[in-house]
Amino acid sequence: MGRNAGRSILAILGVLLLLYLVSPVGYFLFQLPWRAVPGQLADPTAISALVTSLLTATVSIVVIAVFGVPLGYILARRTFTGRGILTLLVYLPLVFPPVVSGILLLLLYGPYGPIGGPFTNAGFELDSSFTGVVLSQIFVASPFVIIAARSAFEAVDPALEQVAITFGKDSWEIFWRVNLPVARAGVIAGLLLGWLRALGEFGATVVMAYHPYTLPVYIFVQLSGTGVDAALPLALLTLAVSFVGVSFVLWTQHISNRRKVA
């Protein structure tokens, strides 16, 4: 088989999948009753769902950043017994069906759970609340950040750290002034992906915190209550946010690659 024939086959295979991935979005944009979009987006419930989603996703990602980036660093740099198991545990939320994650969370943090119970009695519900949404999102989105941070820190030349030690710097300072800045692009990409994952989170959230509505939950409510037409403008909204988010991730990666080459 000629070299070109092989290349063509590979290209055709790739293009076929790409078509499958893009065509629903294309048809959706074609199908969308564009005139009805502004009216439906003005729906106060939709707006509050959007605000809830943006706020919860942002709070979640801040929490994940504070705890998850150090975890990624430790997984990348320290060797200790149980590191393999720890890595496995980190991957688990990624592969659980989100609904199952929601059920697990509800068991522990729900009104009858060992942690959720006392909080509920004290008048602070962990489920069906802003907190509940955040807890679900953290559970589901953390692996993205931890894994991205770990590979970003792994890519940092260990010699940088060693040299910094010879300059008398302690590990706290070295983390902030060497490892984190050098791994920055990868960590930021991980945080953005995690934020998008939190924003789109539905399965765990719908079990753990049906209220307050996040955008995905509200879309589901509209879909099951009113039908596809009512859900379409909201879908457009999420698509737009995702598109902007992913563009930003790719842009940050492009910037960091360019700096490496320059």
């Binding site: 030349d157 010699a159 940088l160 060693q162 040299v163 910094a164 030690i165 010879t166 300059f167 008398g168 710097k169 302690d170 002034r177 060497v178 800045p181 050098v182 920055r184 700096r259 490496k260 080459v261 320059a262």
Partner: protein
């Protein structure tokens, strides 16, 4: 007189010589009381690899020379404190940085030892100036705006100073990736200096550079070393680099110190066959003391007779036929350092120094005599190849060691490496396949102290 000597019992004489050599084993540890000395003793087991390094040398430009995987970098990292050796000590200029027996292990942060790893490890996210600023010792904290501003000015001045010393002016705002290899190296040196180290460790600093600029940058490093009088320990596998730079060379092989000495010691008198190979003395042979055949006119009572190579030895070792008339080498003169032989064995090993062999055109006459009046031996060889090698000419010659019978024997497979200046080569120049006369004086012969470390 000569006839009298020849009549003495040659075998007894050979044994006496052997015994004399055996008694004088030169110590490898240079004396010193710790002042201006670097004393390193490290024992560390890393998987199957055993590091057992022990040397004490005057501070200066110390080169750890050895092939890759010999344990040089591990040694360097232990001196820096980045590797915590299981046993031993590290003492720099009388200051104990590590002593397992006394339970001392000064952390790297407090050692004030500069470390420049192979690829310099410049911080990629910082500019040249910021890289250097990073390494400056922190000024004592005080809450005062004026104080802070003054400190900032002091630090900036220091950076400017370092930039100018290493000729980096104009590059302060550049990021490391935009610099050439040589510039990166200078930034790494400036940054290491900024921390005011008591000792500077350089791990293969010229490896990442083009061959064309290496030699020049080595000279720069040597000047840098002289100018700042900062002790340096440099790791390399390149014997030319060691030769060009070192005050003291520590040869590291298989996790151990094979030899310590000046450039001259190491290159002129390698202690073991391995060290000889490492420093480019490839004409390694094994021989034994024996009386040469009586028929030779100028033959001394005792000389070295080449042994056939053992199967495992390298290609370049020289063999001889079993015939008693072949493969004689002169003994080194009395002005050379004593040569201990291998205890319990009559076989000794040595090398024929590549740059002490005299090469002449073959005259019209017959096979030259084996011994000259000056005590050299003459061989005939066939030129395999002549190559330009830097400013020298490198000859590969198949020795052809004639006995007294007319049919001399080629020494199978072995090739003698000879270096001549271009001028010397011009006088004898012959084509490949042609014969040459090799004169091997006793000063060309170096006998190893030991067969292995």
């Amino acid at each position: 007189m000569k006839s009298v000597m020849r009549e003495t019992n040659d075998t007894t004489k050979a044994l006496a010589l052997e015994a004399q050599y055996r008694d004088e084993v030169a110590p490898t540890i240079l004396a010193g009381d710790g002042e201006n000395m670097l004393s390193v003793n490290l024992h560390h087991q890393l998987g199957a690899f055993q590091l057992a390094i022990n040397f004490q040398v005057p501070l200066g430009l110390i080169v750890l020379l050895g092939s890759s995987g010999a344990g040089k970098s591990l040694t360097l990292r232990s001196i820096a404190g980045l590797l915590h050796a299981q046993q031993g000590h590290v003492v720099v200029n009388g200051q104990v940085l590590f002593d397992s027996a006394a339970g001392i292990h000064v952390p790297t942060q407090l050692r004030h030892i500069g470390y420049v790893p192979q690829h310099y490890a410049l911080f990629p996210h910082l500019t040249v100036a910021e890289n250097i600023l990073f390494a400056l010792p922190p000024s004592p904290a005080r809450i005062s705006w004026q104080y802070w501003r003054k400190q900032r000015a002091v630090r900036r001045t220091r950076v400017a100073e370092l930039l100018s010393i290493l000729e980096l002016e104009g590059l302060e705002r550049r990021y490391p990736v935009t610099l050439s290899g040589g510039q990166q190296q200078r930034v790494a040196l400036a940054r290491a200096l900024a921390a005011e180290p008591r000792l500077l460790l350089l791990d293969e600093p010229f490896n990442a550079l083009d061959a064309a600029v290496r030699e020049r940058l080595r000279d720069t490093l040597k000047q840098f070393h002289r100018r700042f009088a900062i002790p340096i320990v440099l790791v390399t596998h390149d014997h030319a680099e060691a030769q060009q730079l070192a005050d003291t060379i520590v040869v590291v092989q298989h996790g151990q110190v094979a030899q310590v000495g000046s450039v001259n010691d190491i290159f002129y008198a390698p202690r073991t066959p391995d060290v000889a190979q490492l420093v480019g003395q490839h004409n390694v042979f094994t021989a034994q003391f024996a009386p040469p055949p009586n028929q030779q006119k100028f033959a001394p009572p005792v000389a070295l007779r080449l042994q056939p190579p053992v199967p495992s030895s390298s290609q370049s070792s020289i063999a001889s036929s079993q015939n008693n008339e072949h493969g004689w080498l002169p003994l080194p003169g009395a002005d050379l350092p004593p040569i201990p032989s291998i205890v319990g064995s009559k076989v000794i090993s040595g090398c024929i120094r590549t740059d002490e062999i005299v090469v002449r055109r073959r005259g019209a006459g017959s096979v030259p005599p084996m011994w000259t009046a000056q005590g050299s031996v003459q061989w005939v060889g066939v030129l395999q190849e002549a190559q330009l090698y830097g400013h020298m000419v490198r000859l590969l010659i198949h020795p052809y060691v004639p006995g007294l019978s007319s049919d001399g024997l080629f020494i199978a497979e072995s090739v003698l490496e000879v270096y001549l200046s271009r001028g010397q080569w011009r006088d004898v120049e012959v084509a490949s396949g042609q014969q040459l006369v090799l004169e091997i004086p006793s000063k060309a012969i170096h006998l190893f102290e030991r067969l292995a470390i």
